[in-house]
Structure formats: structure tokens, C-alpha cells
């Protein structure tokens, strides 16, 4: 019982660490040339010097751009509690100009204890924002705009970006715009009038190096010695962890996993799975946990789909494949049925079913998205006559059939030709 209790506590601890980006990115950002230090320097200098600034954080999805920004903002809020207002927008939510201005007005009102009117028009809101910028500038307060998914704000007329950056041209205002995007060409998307007002400062977020990964693993997985966990349990856990981390097999697992996507969030998902598979009885991590996590994250959905198919569904897939090999550029259910019949005529088996049963199997394939309609229109036409195409490659189909349990020999023969 004692061990299990301890194990559950440590499990909770590590899981909450994984779900907390602030914890994850803290150790990666203490070196002076890290993005964290650079960003902090830029923003804090524009706060102290009371000037305007704009900056882009670029990097692949899940590389911790927002997390680092949040770390910096939290630090600055502690450092200058009265002089900063942070406005957070997200391109996925506020890419419309109207809703963006509304959200800005709402957050400004919240910060400054003003009454926010839901009914305010677009014009009211944008004028309110400009007025607030001026007022804050006069009071030597900085407004920081954090725009996540920055590339989405560059869609359409870019009115939000223009009015923001234009207002920042005046001497009185005091604001920092931080754009976060996974598109490396995000600044190229801007209109000329916006681009000329934007300072082209960019911070690039790169995937962590091997040493960083090792440091991160230790940081996330090892238990603290000064917590309410039993001391000998924590030492035992950490010793076991050290031996796993030093293991060559473990390093191989990590490197195969990170080959597909080396970002930090991707690694965290792996750690989460591995931790969830920890045996509560023994209370320690084992190499096996990481292996299981790797196999359950590296999935091949198409192969799984083929394994799920019934024999008749595979027959239909093979008929379609044969039609494609014959270079028939478009085909529908009726022509697939013709092919099915011709296969049956040359190799009679018991697997010959009526058209309506085949149609049901055909619909199952559509649901599994192994096949799809070539065009979206033509809803008036019934399913049998709408042209379809395969969305699975020849190699995938072949491999899937080989691993299919009790696949009829005739099908293997048909696909190999």
C-alpha cells in the first residue's frame, strides 16, 4: 500500500509537470543566449525606455513559442506590476477584425476596471483602442499585444494590424506587438503599408539539441527530494530513472521517436504516455513503459483500417486498384461491380455477393475513408454513380494485405500482379 500510494503521488506530480508549460520551459531558458533572455531583454528595454516595438516569434508547432512568451510576460508582470497591460489574441479565434477589436476592448476594460459595452460598434472599439493607447502612453504604461497564430491576422484587409501599428507610429503611444506564428514567412504575408510599419525583429525557435533533451527528461521525470514523498522512495525512483536514461536502448527509442518530429510538445506526449503506463505496484519506471509508449504513438492508421475491413471490402479495394492499374481515369460503383464480376468469372470463389451487399461494403469503405468521392458536388446523384477514387497507395494496400489475418490466397495473387 505504501509504495502504491507513493507511486500515485509521484505520478500525479509528473503528470501535472507535463501539463504545465511554464515548468517545462523554465530550465531551457536560463542561458543568456536563449530566446527567453532575448525576448525579455527586448520587451523590458522597450518598457523602461518607453518606446514602441514589434517582434515575431517563429518556429514549428509545439516548439514552445507561447510558453516562453508567457514566462517572459509573467516575469515582467511581477517586475513592473503597474505599468504593463497584456492583451492576448489568437488568430484562430479573432482573425475577424470585428471580433478582434471587441476582444481588445473587453480585455482593456477588464484591466482598467472600465465598463465594457457588448453593443459597441467596430468603429467605437477601434477608436477606444487608439484612445487607450494614447492615454496609456501619456501615463507611461506599456500595452503588450500578444498575437498568437499571427499569420491568420494577415488574412483579409489586415485592418487590425494596420491600425495597431499605425497608432504605434505616434510618439505618445507606448506598445509592444509580439506576433507568434508557425509560418516562417509570416512577415512576407503583410501588406506593404503594414510591413513598412513593422520592425523586422524575429526570434527563431529551433528544436532542442540532444543535450537539451537529456536535460529536459531529467528535469521532468526525476522526483524532488524535499517534497512530502518518502525519501528512500524518491532516491530509488531517481536511481532507476538514471539507469534508464543512460541505457543505449532508451536513447535509441528517443531518437527514433524524435526523428519524425523533434519539438518539445511531441516529446511531452511521449513522456505522458510512458508515465501513464508506469506500474503502480512496483512504483518505478521501466524501459518497457517507454517501449509501449513508442508503439502506441507510432501508428499507421491506414494499415489499421485495412485490418478492420471484411473480406468483401478488400475485394472492392482490389477491384478499384485493378481499375486504376488499367488506367481508367474515373470510375464509380457500377464499374467497380463490373470488375468484381469479371474477377469472379475468371476465378470463381464463394465470395460473390449481391450488389446491395457490395454497396453496403462500399459505404463502409467510404466511412473508413479508404476511398472517397472525387468531387464534392453531385449530391443529387445516387452513390452508385458518383465517381470515386482510392486514398490509399499501392504499397500500403499490399502491406496491409500481407498482415491481414487469414487473407484469401486469391486476393494476394490478384494484388501482386
Amino acid at each position: 500500500m505504501g509504495i502504491e500510494n507513493q507511486a500515485e503521488k509521484s505520478l500525479n506530480l509528473i503528470r501535472s509537470r507535463i501539463c504545465n508549460p511554464n515548468f517545462i520551459f523554465k530550465p531551457l531558458s536560463d542561458s543568456p543566449d536563449s530566446n527567453y533572455s532575448k525576448l525579455k531583454f527586448i520587451i523590458s528595454s522597450s518598457i523602461t525606455e518607453a518606446c514602441n516595438n514589434s517582434i515575431l516569434l517563429l518556429g514549428p508547432r509545439g516548439s514552445g513559442k507561447v510558453a516562453v512568451l508567457e514566462l517572459v510576460l509573467n516575469d515582467l508582470l511581477e517586475q513592473y506590476p503597474d505599468t504593463i497591460t497584456v492583451i492576448r489574441l489568437n488568430g484562430l479565434l479573432h482573425s475577424e477584425d470585428n471580433s478582434a477589436f471587441k476582444e481588445i476592448a473587453r480585455q482593456l476594460c477588464m484591466e482598467h476596471n472600465l465598463l465594457f459595452s457588448k453593443m459597441a460598434s467596430f468603429d467605437d472599439n477601434s477608436q477606444f483602442m487608439i484612445a487607450m493607447l494614447r492615454e496609456c502612453g501619456l501615463a507611461h504604461k506599456t500595452i503588450i499585444f500578444a498575437l498568437d497564430e499571427f499569420d491568420l491576422f494577415a488574412q483579409g484587409k489586415q485592418r487590425l494590424l494596420y491600425s495597431l501599428l499605425d497608432a504605434m507610429q505616434s510618439v505618445t503611444s507606448q506598445a509592444v506587438v509580439v506576433g507568434v506564428s508557425c509560418r516562417l514567412d509570416a512577415d512576407q504575408l503583410l501588406e506593404k503599408r503594414v510591413r513598412s510599419r513593422f520592425s523586422h525583429r524575429k526570434l527563431l525557435f529551433l528544436p532542442p539539441s540532444k543535450e537539451d533533451v537529456q536535460r529536459l527528461l531529467e528535469h521532468v521525470l526525476s522526483l524532488p527530494m524535499d517534497s512530502n514523498l518518502a525519501h528512500d522512495y524518491a532516491t530509488g525512483f531517481n536511481e532507476k530513472l538514471q539507469s534508464i536514461l543512460a541505457d543505449e536502448r532508451f536513447k535509441e527509442i528517443i531518437s527514433t521517436y524524435l526523428n519524425s518530429n523533434p519539438t518539445v510538445n511531441h516529446l511531452l506526449r511521449f513522456l505522458f504516455l510512458a508515465i501513464s503506463h508506469m506500474e503502480l505496484k512496483s512504483g518505478f519506471l521501466s524501459l518497457e513503459n517507454f517501449k509501449v509508449a513508442l508503439s502506441s504513438l507510432q501508428r499507421q492508421p491506414k494499415q489499421e483500417c485495412i485490418k478492420d475491413c471484411s473480406i468483401l471490402e478488400i475485394y472492392i479495394l482490389i477491384c478499384m486498384k485493378r481499375l486504376e492499374i488499367k488506367e481508367q481515369n474515373s470510375y464509380n460503383f457500377i464499374s467497380v461491380m463490373k470488375e468484381y464480376k469479371s474477377i469472379h468469372d475468371s476465378f470463381p470463389t464463394s465470395d460473390y455477393y449481391a450488389q446491395n451487399v457490395c454497396l453496403r461494403a462500399f459505404e463502409h469503405l467510404l466511412q473508413r475513408e479508404l476511398i472517397c468521392f472525387t468531387e464534392n458536388r453531385g449530391h443529387g446523384q445516387s452513390i452508385e454513380f458518383r465517381p470515386v477514387k482510392l486514398v490509399i497507395s499501392y504499397a500500403e494496400l499490399q502491406e496491409g494485405l500481407k498482415s491481414y489475418r487469414s487473407c484469401p490466397a486469391i486476393l494476394l495473387k490478384l494484388i501482386d500482379r
Binding site: 500525479n12 509545439g62 484562430l92 479565434l93 476582444e103 506526449r269 505522458f272 501508428r299 485490418k307 459505404e363
Partner: protein, 537 residues
């Protein structure tokens, strides 16, 4: 108005009735008389707590998935990355996850994108559940909050979630460690979104889908767990911008062995049923592996299997099995070719073999050609109308004149020419094109003209047969005023589809959906020489 009977079925009740195990709803039903006061307990299943063994035994061959999900959900109050559960239809995704929450009795909110068919309804349904708001006559069936933009939804959701989690924390602190059943366990709240694949067909799918996938990052609340359930695998979402990967949990399709376990589970006489499954399961598994489809097919077949049996409770021995099999065997092959089975009322052996899925168009299966008769009633004029619709859909309109001249179309077969290789190729290509195009559309006037032609032809045939019969000569009598009525009833039966109106002419165009087999069968019942009129390239 007087007494308004409000259907006060609580949320939990409707939900648990959809799952396999039946929850006892007595507690809820007792509360119907007095106005129901929603509490925090509404976030968990009422009734008795499920034990782990019950959970495992109610889902045969899902043990691995259940254990995996329990591991991922983790101990009480441990944060979680979003999960993505996927697998084919009727593999038990939804019911498994709901029963797991019943077993854990942790608070959760469930919303299916099938019933909530637009962003606004989805958002409001989640918010209503969080605020314990129930639509009823008193609030004029309105939602707690009006919200149709993702931006508003995030703000409301965060606000409400924080409130609910506060309450959960307070109540769990108050109760301490010993909790009665039906109380929320822990202060994590889980949001379950079912049928996620349907969002892709919504109008604003390109913005809603990335929003849903990134919901966890928007909320930034550790106490909220997100679970997405989808019929299609994660790779079908890749094309969407802003896609983020979640922890995948896969529910594979059941194997033959699993199916046997599941199907015998609720049977009274398991021995008898398993001897029945020995016969039917393997051949049926070759066509479909879905539990829902198999169980409906088997329920009727099993009745037939037991027909010759006097005592349903008897345990079958080898000899009896053999006897049952020989009695039952002729039914297997035809039933394999049936998709939908309707017991006919006409007490004959003939069953209507209908395919009512998708537009409910009726197709005759090729496998039962021995049913020469059509199995449903149609009036003679409706039959002629059906045939003329079929002809109008299949034949090119330019050929009508030559096919339906006064001699009755028999001379149209005289066009014989030696086919050169090139013309053969052309023929093939044309055939291919015809296959791709499917049945054509036609205006009402053309249908009526053909109808009139074939009726006069049929009358002339009749005259040849019984020359003395004076009464038969009715001329145009076949075209009566109720033809249009017949047409509309054929449309309603989906034999003929009413298409969109033609943009040039402005009149409605029709299209016949019946297969050639059915058309020939109808023609045979009328003794009408349909093949003479079919244009073959």
C-alpha cells in the same frame, strides 16, 4: 392548457439508456413531481457504482482499451493531455468511455457533434450542461447563454469551468475521503466531444476544427481533461490547418472470436446460439464485421433456425445440430445477399428484399431471381409509368422518335452493321461514359409522351392477343387524370427522384432510380416487350 406534462428525464437518464448497461433511474424518476434542482452530482452518473469486473465483463474483448484508457485518465486529480479515441462505427468507443466514467464516477460533460449539428448548438449545449441549465417551458427552451463564435465560447467556457471546478474542490474538501456513490470524485472535469469527424462537413469546418483541436491550449486549465471521439483515424484530419496531435487510443474492429462472445452474451440459451453461430458467423463475417449489422441479421435468422425446435431451452447434441443444420442450410445463401429484411405481411414465402438505406431506393438483388413476381402492389398504370420513366432515363432523348413510331419499335433492331475495331473502341468508351453518368434526367413532358406511346403499343399487343375482345379497345383511356397523382406517389416511394429544376427551361426534371432487373421484372408482369425499346450501344 391545464397540466403540462414536461418530459423531465434528466440528462443522465437519457445518456445511460443509450449505453449497454442499464442504470437504475429510480432516484431520478422519483424527483419528477417536484421541480428538479440540479446539483454538482449531475456531472456524474447516478445510481450504483460500477465495479471494475462489471466494467470489464460488460465489454467483452475491450479489456486492453479499458485498461489503457484508465491508465491515461490516471489517478484522481491528475492532469491529462487531450485524448483522441478513434475506431470504426459500432466498436464501442462512446459506451466504453461513458461506462468508464461511471466506474470512476468522475464529473464529465458530454456533447456529440451528431446531435449538436452546428457550432452554436454545440457550444450552447456544453455551456448549458456546465451551468446546470435545463431548457424547459419556463425559460421558453432557450439556452443559458447565447454564443456562436469560438471567441465567445472560450471566454464563457473558461469562466464557467473555473466556477464549476471551484465548487467541485469545495465539495470534495467538505466530504473528505469517504464519499457515497453518485458523488463526483475528484476535482477534474472532463469534456467529451463525440463524432468529431462530422465537424468536417460543417460550413465553417476550416475554422472550427483547428479551434477544437487547440481548445486545450486556449483554456490553459490543468483541471480540465479533453476527450475527442472520432470514427475516422487522425490522419484524415491532417489536411486541416492548425492540427495538433493528441494522445491516440485505437479501438480495432472486433474479430470473429470477439463477435462470437458479444453475440452470445445476452442470449438465453447460449449453447443453442453458439451452435447457430458455428453455422452463420463465418460466412457473414466475410461481408461485414459490424456488430449492429450482424446482430440485426442474426436475430431473424435465429428464429428461423429454431423453427423446427419444440423446446427452446434444450441443449443441442450432435445429432440435433445436424438436423437443425440441414433444415436451416437453404436459408443461409439468400440471407447473405440481403441487406435489409422485412417480414412480409402477405404470408407467402416471398420476402421483400429492400435496401432502405440511403434514400430508401428499392433495388432487387440479383441473388433472388427466382422471385419472378414483384413483391409489392402497383397499379397497372403505375407500372407503365415506371417503365416509361426507366426508358426516359436510359435512352437518349433524340432516339425517342425512332423508337416509338407507329410500328411499335420493333424495326429499331434492324440497324445492323459490321463493327470495325475503331467503332468497337468507341462503343466501349461510350459504354464507360454511360456507366459513369448513371441514369439521365428528363422533363415531365417527355415522360408523359413515352407513357402514352407505350400504352398505345401495349393496347395493340392486347388486341392481337384477344381479337374478339371489343371491350379492350379503349384507345387513350390509359392516360387518365390521375397519372400525375401516380407520378407523385412513385416519387414518394423513391422509384423516381425529383431533381433540381433545369436552369434553362425552368421545369422540374426527374430521374428514375430503379435497376434494370426491376424494370424488366415489372415489364414481364405486364407482358410488355421492354428489351425492344432499350437502346443499346
Amino acid at each position: 392548457m391545464g397540466k403540462v406534462e414536461s418530459p423531465e428525464i434528466t440528462r443522465r437518464a437519457t445518456r445511460s439508456s443509450s449505453s449497454t448497461a442499464v442504470t437504475s433511474n429510480e432516484v431520478e424518476t422519483a424527483k419528477i413531481t417536484e421541480p428538479y434542482k440540479p446539483t454538482l452530482n449531475d456531472f456524474v452518473f447516478g445510481g450504483e457504482r460500477l465495479s471494475f469486473d462489471d466494467l470489464l465483463s460488460s465489454f467483452p474483448s475491450r479489456g486492453n482499451q479499458i485498461r489503457e484508457l484508465l491508465r491515461l485518465l490516471g489517478p484522481v486529480n491528475s492532469p491529462m493531455l487531450p485524448l483522441f479515441i478513434y475506431g470504426g462505427p459500432s466498436t464501442g468507443k462512446t459506451s466504453t468511455i461513458l461506462q468508464i466514467f461511471r466506474y470512476l464516477s468522475r464529473p464529465f460533460v458530454y456533447a456529440s457533434c451528431l446531435t449538436c449539428y452546428s457550432p452554436r448548438i454545440l457550444f450552447e449545449s456544453v455551456l448549458n450542461q456546465l451551468l446546470l441549465h435545463k431548457k424547459n417551458a419556463a425559460n421558453r427552451y432557450s439556452s443559458a447563454k447565447h454564443c456562436d463564435k469560438p471567441a465567445d465560447f472560450v471566454n464563457f467556457l473558461r469562466e464557467d469551468l473555473v466556477g464549476v471546478i471551484e465548487n467541485l474542490k469545495r465539495s470534495s474538501k467538505k466530504l473528505g475521503s469517504n464519499k457515497p456513490a453518485g458523488r463526483p470524485n475528484g476535482n477534474m472535469l472532463y469534456l467529451i466531444f463525440d463524432n468529431l469527424e462530422l465537424i468536417r462537413e460543417w460550413d465553417k469546418s476550416s475554422s472550427i476544427l483547428p479551434f477544437m483541436f487547440n481548445l486545450y491550449d486556449f483554456l490553459k486549465l490543468q483541471e480540465v481533461g479533453l476527450i475527442f471521439i472520432s470514427n475516422t483515424s487522425p490522419d484524415t484530419y491532417y489536411s486541416n490547418m492548425g492540427y495538433t496531435e493528441h494522445v491516440p487510443v485505437y479501438f480495432p474492429e472486433y474479430t470473429e472470436e470477439d463477435l462470437r462472445q458479444i453475440l452470445t452474451r445476452n442470449q438465453e440459451n447460449r449453447k443453442l446460439y453458439s451452435s447457430f453461430l458455428d453455422v452463420v458467423l463465418r460466412p457473414f463475417c466475410r461481408t461485414t464485421r459490424r456488430v449492429d449489422e450482424l446482430s440485426t441479421a442474426f436475430s431473424a435468422l435465429f428464429r428461423k433456425y429454431c423453427e423446427s425446435l419444440s423446446d427452446l431451452a434444450s441443449v443441442p447434441n450432435e445429432e440435433m445440430k445436424r438436423r437443425l443444420f440441414s433444415h436451416f442450410q437453404p436459408h443461409i445463401a439468400p440471407s447473405l445477399n440481403e441487406v435489409f429484411w422485412v417480414p412480409s405481411k402477405s404470408s407467402t414465402e416471398v420476402e421483400i428484399n429492400k435496401d432502405t438505406r440511403r434514400k430508401g431506393s428499392v433495388r432487387k438483388s440479383q441473388g433472388c431471381e427466382h422471385f419472378a413476381q414483384i413483391d409489392f402492389h402497383l397499379s397497372t398504370s403505375a407500372k407503365y409509368l415506371l417503365i416509361s420513366a426507366f426508358l426516359a432515363s436510359r435512352n437518349p432523348a433524340t432516339l425517342d422518335a425512332s423508337l416509338f413510331d407507329s410500328t411499335g419499335g420493333s424495326d429499331s433492331r434492324k440497324r445492323k452493321r459490321k463493327a470495325s475495331e475503331k467503332s468497337m473502341e468507341q462503343k466501349e468508351a461510350a459504354e464507360q461514359e454511360l456507366l459513369m453518368k448513371g441514369p439521365g434526367t428528363f422533363p415531365l413532358e417527355r415522360l408523359l409522351a413515352i407513357f402514352q406511346c407505350i400504352i398505345s403499343v401495349a393496347d395493340s399487343f392486347d388486341e392481337e392477343e384477344h381479337e374478339n375482345d371489343v371491350l379492350r379497345v379503349e384507345g387513350d383511356g390509359g392516360l387518365m387524370s390521375d397519372v400525375l397523382l401516380q407520378l407523385s406517389s412513385l416519387c414518394n416511394a423513391n422509384f423516381i427522384i425529383k431533381g433540381k429544376s433545369c436552369p434553362l427551361e425552368g421545369s422540374t426534371r426527374y430521374r428514375s432510380t430503379i435497376s434494370e432487373d426491376l424494370a424488366l421484372k415489372v415489364a414481364r408482369s405486364l407482358k410488355f416487350p421492354l428489351p425492344n425499346y432499350l437502346y443499346r450501344r
